[in-house]
């Protein structure tokens, strides 16, 4: 049969193959570098762990302290990972044999991390395990272990409006403080109008720092919203709660604006209703994560007849154990209370770090925390930090890395 490629010769494949080997023969046989700029950058931005120590403690208010953290080169951390304002660190600790993790937004500026400083600000939560432990135990010199900066609560110029109305409640001020400093330092470019809810003037966190930032940076403005009925409205102070009318009063009338929220769960519940009245497009509303969900039995869609205690059989790195826990605790909490370290970062259902296989059993997942991948749902993977056991479970949990 006549071919189609008649003017091309069959190249001698033996020669082509020999050439390939020749080409390799000419190459250098020194030890391969094993790195490049992309790898170096990935490692600098996303270290698996950062080993730090407390360099200073600042009392901010009753039961609220800021901790300045610096690298601990002796344990292997020479530089801090740079971050975008709004990110959080997950703190790893062991309290009475219980491995625990908690997320705290970085309250210092991105620039400070280049100078070797992060600041976390911790507020006591009533009956809280880790916040109590940190406030009681962290002092100058305490070694601290944290994750890389994590999370998506950041300004993104291609997505967000040029003006952001920040709604902060209590310790939810922390990411905004970092954002305001980043704007001042020229690391972010947007206008931030912060409506900051506190009980009264005395309970405002970072009052001085915020006032100074306002002076130093014309793109930043703060309005304190005081809920105490005895508080008085004055320049820069409003009374009551963060309502739709209040947002309208400070938001630009003639151009789009984004609303960023960070605060306690009750604040989200209230503010979300107010935001509905403003009819903003969904893209202009962004929440920081909800934090741990507790007391699932109070949820309207929680099933009846769930046993009070359950057994969980866990396989982790080839070892299998069976433990017991309360069905009112998340699967992650039950594991931790039994001394099992499980992977976690946000503890709010969103980040997916805790992803584990549920081989058998049933769990309750609060619908607003359903952030699992679609195929994960189909193939039985759960996020233990926001899954509550309804029956005995059999799990395969990755190592806490």
């Amino acid at each position: 049969m006549a071919g189609l490629l008649n003017n091309l010769k069959i190249r001698d494949y033996i020669t082509i193959l020999a050439n390939r080997q020749k080409q390799f023969g000419l190459a250098d046989d020194s030890a391969p570098a094993g790195t490049d700029a992309s790898r170096a950058l990935a490692r600098a931005l996303h270290p698996n762990r950062q080993y730090l120590k407390v360099a200073a403690v600042t009392e901010r208010a009753e039961d609220v302290k800021s901790f300045t953290l610096v690298p601990d080169p002796e344990r292997g951390t020479k530089e801090l990972a740079y971050f975008g304002a709004g990110k959080y660190l997950t703190v790893f600790a062991e309290i009475d044999g219980q491995p625990v993790t908690r997320a705290y937004s970085i309250s210092s500026s991105p620039k400070a991390s280049l100078e070797g400083r992060y600041e976390l600000t911790v507020k006591l939560v009533d009956g809280g395990l880790v916040s109590r432990y940190i406030l009681d135990n962290w002092q100058e010199g305490t070694p601290v272990e944290v994750s890389a900066p994590e999370g998506n609560f950041e300004y993104q110029p291609l997505r967000d409006a040029k003006t952001v109305i920040g709604l902060a409640g209590g310790s939810g001020i922390t990411p905004f403080l970092s954002m305001a400093q980043a704007i001042r330092d020229g690391d972010e470019d947007f206008e931030l109008i912060l409506l900051y809810g506190s009980r009264n003037k005395k309970s405002i966190l970072f009052a001085k720092e915020l006032a100074q930032l306002e002076k130093d940076c014309e793109k930043f403005k703060v309005i304190h919203v005081l809920s105490d009925s005895r508080a008085k409205a004055s320049e820069g102070f409003e009374k009551g709660f963060i309502t739709a009318d209040l947002i309208k009063k400070y938001a630009p009338a003639d151009k789009p604006y984004s609303v960023f929220l960070c605060g306690p769960q009750q604040m989200y519940a209230f503010a979300d209703k107010e935001l509905e009245k403003l009819g903003l497009e969904r893209k202009y509303i962004r929440h920081e994560m909800f934090g741990e969900f507790h007391n699932p039995a109070a949820a309207p869609d929680y099933p009846a007849g769930v046993p009070e205690t359950v057994k969980i059989t866990v396989t982790q790195a080839g070892e299998t154990r069976t433990v017991e826990g309360a069905s009112n605790d998340s699967v992650l909490q039950i594991l931790e209370k039994n001394g099992i370290a499980a992977p976690a970062r946000c503890r709010s259902g969103e980040c997916g770090w805790c992803r584990s296989l549920m081989v058998s059993g049933k769990v309750y997942i609060p619908p607003h925390l359903e952030y699992r991948r679609l195929a994960d749902r189909q193939f039985g993977y759960i996020h233990p930090c926001c899954s509550f056991p309804l029956t005995d479970l059999v799990l395969d949990v990755p190592e806490a890395k």
């Binding site: 490629l5 390799f24 190459a27 490049d36 950058l41 280049l114 790195a317 993977y381």
Partner: protein
């Protein structure tokens, strides 16, 4: 606790998944170790707000239809892994915008001035007719190409059946040999395809990252034939569905998978691998190893320099790393109809010649070339009602992140994404930016983090005439550093692509199974 296995598979990318599933199904005591907390490597997904994004997959050419299944569909069927496939009968649209004063320019869709605007259908006949309507006189050469690629598949079948004798093979399939020894450019010239038609015909170069002037025609056509014959397919629930389906097969066959388990060292005995260290602490042993980690990092990370055979060191130093990608994932608060998008896959380039496209992106961080995909075109319900998802891809080569400091990185990401989006808006004559509800941007360091490959490249080593699929296949054994430590994945014979990675995993598994059955 078990610490001894028949085979340890390092890395649960597509190659590692296929390897582990094949070994486990053959009854081997199999352990799959993965650094990340989920399977798939590139074949995964991530959630932002109300969107779940596909991180890597543009399209699969190896699925086909139930009556005419391709490689991937067959592999999944053999393994018993169930995936809900969605298919699509368009191949791609190529747009080359024209400068105002370009005499070749004409007014295309939405008033955009273009030099080329070619939306190509699937099917050999339909594709060739469409090509002819854009470049009159190209029908015949186009059909000849598909005739050759059909012949090529017959040759593969004959080779696999082992029934044909070499002399007969050479006379019957002389053209196939020529395809293997010549570039895409040489062969299309020889077939008399007009230059402009070649520009359209070679637009798929980006999926293998090798330009027509350096890529062998045989392998280019192996891919192109698949897309044009069968059209493209996607899994319903992003590629995480494919990875989860294989994960399930491995477990059901008695294999063990450990996530968050990074191999940090390979243990040696008598000059051969005998075990691995996981997360710097746990030692696990096996007779055989299949490694899905790119050799450029696996060898220096796992072995001391003196333990790496000189030949393996030369192979790392003597080859160049294939393409790296920039990707932008957009969750849009408008439907594709509202946005004015009606193609799944659009290639947009400032240069009309594919070789120039390749030259222009060398070592560059920005511009010239971008692909835009809209998944809703194939899977209408992939995002909530009233929304859609877009996926933009740019391509580059080399260690382009040199000199980028951590504090520059976020701004650089935004700048690159901005340019890529702007280029799409201009070429399509539509608005994208006002409707972005979610955005995620991945640059080579992002891929480096998730895939652990040099330059963050998902494509392995550069495919080239001197280092082609066929040469790599013939010299497979020579390319492995130890006889019980086989590589699989994009760094191997077939380069990048899901089907290619599954193939190399299955092949390595087949060799391991054979060796263990023979008691070696």
């Amino acid at each position: 606790m078990r610490n001894n296995y028949d085979v340890i598979v390092i890395g649960a990318g597509n190659g590692g998944l296929a390897a582990a599933a094949t070994c486990a199904k053959a009854g081997l005591k199999t352990l799959l170790l993965e650094k990340h907390n989920l399977p798939g490597g590139s074949a995964s997904s991530f959630v932002r707000g109300r969107f779940e994004f596909e991180p890597s997959l543009h399209e699969l050419c190896g699925v086909g239809t139930p009556d005419n299944p391709g490689d991937i569909a067959k592999t999944f069927d053999e393994l018993g892994a169930k995936v809900d496939w969605y298919s699509h009968d368009e191949t791609y649209r190529l747009i080359v915008p024209a400068e105002e004063d370009d005499p070749e320019g004409f007014e295309g869709e939405n008033g955009v001035r273009v030099k080329i605007d070619a939306a190509m259908p699937a099917g050999f006949e339909a594709f060739s007719r469409k090509l002819d309507s854009i470049v009159p006189g190209s029908y015949e050469s186009s059909m000849k190409v598909f005739h050759l690629s059909t012949l090529m598949y017959e040759a593969f079948d004959d080779l696999n059946s082992g029934k044909i004798n070499p002399v007969k093979f050479l006379t019957k399939y002389g053209d196939v040999f020529k395809m293997a020894g010549h570039t895409v450019r040489e062969c299309l010239d020889e077939l008399g395809m007009p230059k402009k038609a070649q520009n359209i015909f070679t637009a798929y170069w980006c999926y293998m990252g090798a330009p027509p002037m350096r890529f062998d025609f045989l392998y280019y056509m192996a891919m192109m034939h698949g897309y044009v014959e069968r059209g493209a397919s996607m899994p319903h629930l992003r590629s995480n569905e494919m990875s989860c389906a294989i994960d399930k097969v491995i477990r059901e066959a008695g294999g063990e998978i450990r996530y968050n388990s990074e191999v940090t060292r390979v243990l040696m005995q008598n000059g051969k691998p005998c075990g691995v260290v996981v997360n710097g602490k746990t030692k696990l042993f096996a007779k055989q190893f299949i490694c899905n980690v790119h050799p450029n990092f696996a060898m220096p990370d796992f072995f001391r320099p003196a333990q790496i055979p000189a030949d393996a060191r030369r192979k790392i130093n003597g080859r160049s790393v294939a393409a790296s990608l920039f990707t932008v994932y957009l969750g849009m608060n408008r439907t594709k109809e509202q946005l004015g998008i009606h193609n799944y896959s659009v290639f947009i380039s400032t240069a009309d010649d594919s070789d120039d496209q390749f030259r222009l992106v060398q070592g560059k961080m920005l511009g010239n070339y971008v692909i835009i995909n809209c998944l809703n075109e194939v899977i209408p319900d992939c995002s909530p009602e009233g929304t859609s998802m877009l996926f933009l891809t740019g391509i580059t080569y080399g260690d382009v992140m040199q000199g980028v400091r951590p504090e520059d990185y976020k701004k650089l990401k935004t700048k690159i994404a901005d340019e890529m989006i702007t280029q799409c808006e201009k070429a399509l004559g539509i608005d994208i930016k006002p409707y972005i509800e979610e955005i995620e941007i991945a640059l080579p360091p992002t891929f480096s983090r998730y895939l652990n490959t040099p330059n963050g490249s998902p494509y392995g080593y550069q495919l080239d005439l001197w280092d082609s699929m066929l040469s790599r296949t013939i010299q497979y054994n020579k390319d492995q550093p130890f006889d019980n430590f086989l590589f699989c994945g994009a760094s191997q014979e077939r380069g990048d692509g899901y089907g290619c990675a599954y193939y190399t995993g299955k092949k390595a598994a087949g060799l391991v199974i054979k060796k263990l059955k023979e008691g070696k």
